[in-house]
């Protein structure tokens, strides 16, 4: 009978927890503890953590993860370009695209990595990186907008957060939210290191990259950039590096990406008469 009572208490506490009542969960734990049932209190606490770990990551946690991953990206790529006018320009293009993306309600910031490789990255919470090498390959603002659109799509579609969820499970983190970052810093480090390795060394799943290409081109077209511009950039990169070894080593090959973007332009009826803004791009990036 007592066991049944305990089970129902736990179930009610769990239901309230699922309903988002953290305070009620804590109160139920207190009641169980004060009534001399520490095991039940522990069960309620554990159940709450398990449920919490299965829920999507909230922005507060996303922001901490993004900052920690951004630290690693900057460290691995040897710092950023310190040219205020150029940085402001790429951020303006990023804002223009992000403001009409599917997730415009978080801040996005773009930094230029001082590195000759040709690459771009996004980490959670809107931290976006483009290498100097990639910027040198871009010929107009519409191409830049599509590249930034691709990265913004990774953030808005929460591609990296999916990796983090997996990384958390692999690191054995069952606690809800960010508390593990301070209570178990080794686990937080494990989560970040795993996600950075996936992003920089192994690459995201190819479907996610293709998805980001298509969604990113839609974002750029929404604000008025020529949707075909991205196809032009991808074709030049294919000519430069070939198709067998993708230039972005972590991405699908160029021909597949070009096909996917062209299909998106056709099926979504994206405007190919938008602006490319070559002159403004050349003027603003002449010192790259």
């Amino acid at each position: 009978m007592r066991n049944n009572h305990g089970m129902w208490t736990a179930l009610i506490a769990l239901s309230l927890t699922v309903a988002g009542c953290a305070e009620v969960q804590r109160a139920a734990e207190d009641v169980a503890r004060q009534s001399g049932n520490p095991r039940l209190a522990g069960a309620i606490h554990g159940a709450g953590n398990v449920v919490g770990s299965l829920l999507p990551i909230g922005y507060e946690e996303e922001s901490s993860i993004g900052q920690a991953m951004a630290l690693q990206v900057v460290a691995r790529y040897g710092g950023v370009v310190d040219q205020p006018e150029l940085v402001r320009y790429v951020n303006l293009v990023g804002r223009a695209v992000a403001d009409t993306s599917d997730r415009p309600d978080i801040p996005y910031r773009v930094a230029i990595l001082d590195h000759e490789s040709i690459n771009a990255f996004a980490v959670p919470a809107g931290y976006i990186f483009v290498t100097r090498g990639l910027l040198r390959q871009i010929r107009n603002e519409a191409e830049l907008a599509a590249v930034l659109g691709h990265e913004i799509a990774h953030v808005s579609e929460k591609h990296i957060l999916d990796v983090i969820q997996r990384s958390k499970r692999l690191a054995g983190v069952t606690e809800a939210g960010l508390s593990y970052a301070t209570s178990n810093p080794a686990a937080f480090k494990g989560v970040i290191d795993g996600a950075v390795k996936k992003l920089l060394d192994e690459g995201l799943d190819q479907e996610k990259e293709t998805d980001a290409d298509m969604v990113g081109d839609v974002f750029a077209a929404r604000v008025g950039y020529d949707a075909e511009a991205y196809v032009g950039l991808l074709m030049r990169l294919r000519d430069l590096k070939g198709d067998d070894r993708a230039l972005f080593k972590t991405h699908p090959n160029f021909s597949a990406r070009i096909d996917a973007v062209q299909k998106t332009i056709r099926t979504k009826h994206l405007a190919t008469t938008g602006v490319v803004l070559q002159e403004r791009f050349s003027r603003m990036t002449k010192r790259v």
Binding site: E62, D99, A176, G177, F188, R222, G274, V275, R280
Partner: protein, 170 residues
């Protein structure tokens, strides 16, 4: 026994009610797909702004013309919005229900942290991570500055205007 004339009046009233409800209930709706957007008196970026709407707000479509839509806001304001700032499906953004639920469980306030007010400095978790992994002061400073980096909305608007982008498209 009901008088036939009364029944007729009742049917007309019912028919009008259905029509009025139907027009409202089946009106086509779009949602604001931009951080903010302006409702203008006419269908060009030169027309006066008659109202501002926010991300996710629903708008009833009254008419269309090229890249512009005539809409009515939930507050009753009527005007034109650039169609590129709308979506036919309700955007979930970063604040979807489950994420909010997760935030609530962690005791945080989602609305306070999703605003682009601009957090400043590394937070405790990432500072701890930087200490454990030996990230240099220079690299911390980079992410610190990046976190605080903001461009005022007016400058973005001016950038769009100069480039003929968004609602300033020619």
């Amino acid at each position: 026994m009901t008088h036939p004339r009364s029944l007729g009046v009742l049917l007309i009233v019912l028919w009008i009610s259905v029509c009025v409800w139907g027009a409202d209930g089946w009106a086509e709706t779009v949602y604001v797909q931009a951080k903010t957007a302006q409702i203008r008196a006419g269908k060009t970026s030169l027309d006066a702004v008659v109202g501002n709407v926010k991300f996710g707000e629903s708008l009833e479509i009254v008419g269309r013309d090229g890249s512009w839509m005539e809409v009515k806001t939930s507050a009753g304001a009527r005007g034109w919005i650039f169609a590129g700032k709308t979506s036919t499906s309700k955007p979930s953004g970063g604040n979807d229900t489950l994420a909010r639920l997760g935030q609530s469980m962690r005791g945080g306030d989602a609305s306070a942290t999703t605003a682009s007010a601009g957090a400043r400095g590394l937070d405790k978790a990432s500072e701890g991570y930087a200490n454990r992994t030996g990230v240099s002061a220079r690299d911390r400073e980079v992410v610190d500055r990046m976190t605080a980096y903001q461009i005022p909305d007016q400058e973005v608007e001016e950038f769009l205007r100069e480039g003929g982008l968004g609602e300033y498209a020619k």
